[in-house]
């Protein structure tokens, strides 16, 4: 059936609603993105939207009046006559042009403003990124011209720490879960069923349940604050979902494959490495992306097990919000840096990510 596209009030309303949704979803991030490139002083002086092209009164030139001019008499400037008070207020000589006396009577200066299109990338800088990445001291000028000195947040090392946490914390659970899922799907061993029921039950258990005992154990073993503690913690918290997702996939692989491999004399391990792993790449990719984004964006686990010794991007950003709540140039560039990698992964591999979500994602 073909619908004729014609103008109708309903369609118009739908379009307007959709545009509003898109704006509400895009504008907040866009604002942070734009602000991260603005000069610190500008950020406090005007909203980020002033970077967008708009019409504004821009000072185009100054007129210096002769010294013998008496400001107490009506003053004629370029053919327009008015009293000092009126000049001080500013006079719109045409729709496009405003002239205004600058300062007190002795200044003898008149500024000419014209309405112009401004804001095509005015005064953008990469300095905020430089400042937020460094671990040393940074200085910047605020809106009132004061020079401010701050301790840098060393975001570059936070990014490295995040990578050091996320990559192993993604690979380790995948390896374990792939073995487990294969065993649950295609091997018979005692306790197979109750163990799998436990996996399903653990899917929704909030991780807060495990935090305190795990933290006590880690403290006893001297692991707190180390990357190993993060890898172990994320492996544990990620495994139920990993096993469940991979099981769902691996158990649907055709039985013939396993039978012919068995007849050819392949051991279960060989079957796993040479058949199961290559055939489950889509499921492995789905979970890998899911887990990577989860670990990268995690704040609670990092806050508790890593502490301040090796800050990852989320904890570095969170402590920046606490210490430098008004330093928007640092906050916005830090926030954008923390999103760069997940957004790239997300847009590059969206298909796999959505598949992982669909397969059940009530992660604890």
């Amino acid at each position: 059936m073909k619908k004729k596209k014609k103008f109708s009030p309903g369609r118009l309303v739908v379009t307007i609603v959709l545009v509003l949704f898109i704006l509400a979803w895009v504008v907040p991030s866009f604002g942070v993105f734009v602000t991260s490139f603005r000069d610190p002083a500008d950020i406090y002086a005007s909203g980020w939207w002033s970077v967008l092209p708009h019409r504004e009164n821009v000072k185009t030139r100054e007129i210096t009046l002769p010294d013998d001019l008496d400001p107490d008499q009506p003053i004629t400037i370029e053919g327009y006559t008015a009293s000092f008070a009126e000049w001080r207020e500013g006079i719109a000589v045409t729709d496009e042009k405003t002239m205004q006396w600058y300062g007190n009577k002795r200044s003898r200066r008149v500024d000419v403003f014209e309405r112009k299109w401004v804001g095509f990338g005015a005064n953008l800088t990469l300095g905020n990124y430089r400042d937020v990445l460094t671990g040393g001291t940074i200085t910047f000028t605020d809106a009132t011209g004061n020079t401010i000195t701050r301790e840098g947040n060393n975001f570059s090392s936070a990014v490295m720490n995040s990578i050091a946490v996320s990559v192993p914390a993604t690979i380790i659970p995948i390896l374990i879960a792939a073995f487990a899922a294969y065993a649950f799907a295609w091997m018979n061993f005692p306790g197979r069923k109750p163990l799998f029921v436990m996996v399903v039950a653990l899917l929704v258990v909030p991780l807060q349940i495990a935090l305190i005992p795990v933290l006590q154990d880690f403290t006893r073993w001297g692991l707190t604050g180390s990357f190993v503690s993060m890898w172990l913690a994320h492996t544990g918290f990620g495994l139920p979902l990993a096993i469940y997702l991979l099981y769902n996939y691996i158990s649907t692989l055709p039985r013939d494959v396993f039978e012919s491999a068995y007849i050819d004399g392949a051991t279960p391990f060989k079957t796993f490495v040479w058949l199961v792993l290559p055939m489950s790449v889509p499921a492995l990719a789905s979970f890998a992306i899911f887990q990577f984004l989860w670990v990268w964006n995690d704040y609670l686990v990092a806050l508790i097990f890593l502490g301040d010794r090796h800050r990852v991007v989320t904890s570095a950003l969170a402590s920046m919000i606490g210490e430098k709540g008004q330093d928007w140039h640092l906050l916005t560039s830090g926030a954008f840096l923390s999103m760069l990698l997940p957004l790239a992964v997300f847009f590059g591999l969206q298909r796999f990510f959505v598949r992982g979500l669909m397969a059940g994602s009530v992660k604890g």
């Binding site: 059936m1 899917l203 349940i209």
Partner: protein, 233 residues
């Protein structure tokens, strides 16, 4: 403590329902539109952003400069309010309502999830049913309430429970935005405070157990579903 529970109830009721309703709305409105993929990707995008990052984004939206003459608000929300003739507010300090400004952040983050799952459910409704309804002269609204919604009900339930659990455990947003102050505390933040600020593991564990108890029905439901599907032969 009671305040944390009350606030969590707000999160669970208003946060979850808003996410799900917006998710349904967007997936229906966008269905078969020319820009469907593009629009969905934009709404879905915050799923890739950390809560802390979203915290910065929305703290900037809510930014408030303070009182004084000739102050240009740099927070978009306040700028809009001022442009409409209203008065700038410190949004995160407004008693009671500040909870909703925080919930808005979760809605912003999670609606994409609801939308993606619900939208794929809508697409799997057989076209023949829709066609039959149209032939019988059903209006779009009738089709929506009589066919679309009932067909995707199981999906709606799944999405709702997922987001419910999610909002029950919610921690990062509150921690980063207000630290649980100004009457915005939630259970997960109370857990953190008891354990790490007051050093009382016993009370923190008790809170964790409460969380587990609240989640148990979902857990049992999941297990039943699992049994009925007999996936494990």
């Amino acid at each position: 403590m009671l305040e944390a529970f009350k606030n969590n109830l707000l999160w669970m009721v208003f946060g979850t329902s808003t996410c799900v309703i917006l998710g349904i709305m967007i997936s229906v409105l966008v269905d078969k539109s020319k820009f469907e993929k593009f629009i969905k990707a934009l709404i879905f995008m915050p799923m890739a952003i950390s809560f802390v990052g979203a915290g910065v984004i929305w703290k900037f939206m809510y930014a408030y400069k303070g009182e004084g003459i000739n102050i240009t608000e740099i927070g978009l929300l306040n700028a809009i309010v001022v442009a409409l003739g209203g008065e700038a507010q410190a949004w995160l300090l407004v008693p009671f309502w500040n909870n909703f400004f925080l919930i808005a952040i979760m809605v912003w983050l999670q609606t994409g999830y609801a939308m993606v799952i619900i939208s794929s459910a809508i697409k799997s409704i057989p076209e023949a049913i829709m066609e039959a309804a149209r032939v019988d002269g059903a209006e779009d609204i009738t089709i929506f309430f009589r066919i679309t919604i009932p067909s995707i009900m199981p999906t709606i339930i799944t999405v709702t429970t997922t987001i419910l659990i999610f909002s029950l455990k919610l921690f990062d947003i509150v921690r980063v935005m207000t630290g649980g102050n100004y009457g915005t505390n939630v259970i997960a933040n109370e857990f953190y405070l008891r354990q790490f600020t007051y050093g009382n593991s016993g009370q923190a564990s008790a809170i964790a157990i409460v969380l587990l108890v609240v989640i148990t029905p979902v857990l049992v439901y999941n297990l039943r579903e699992f049994r009925s599907r007999r996936t494990l032969k």
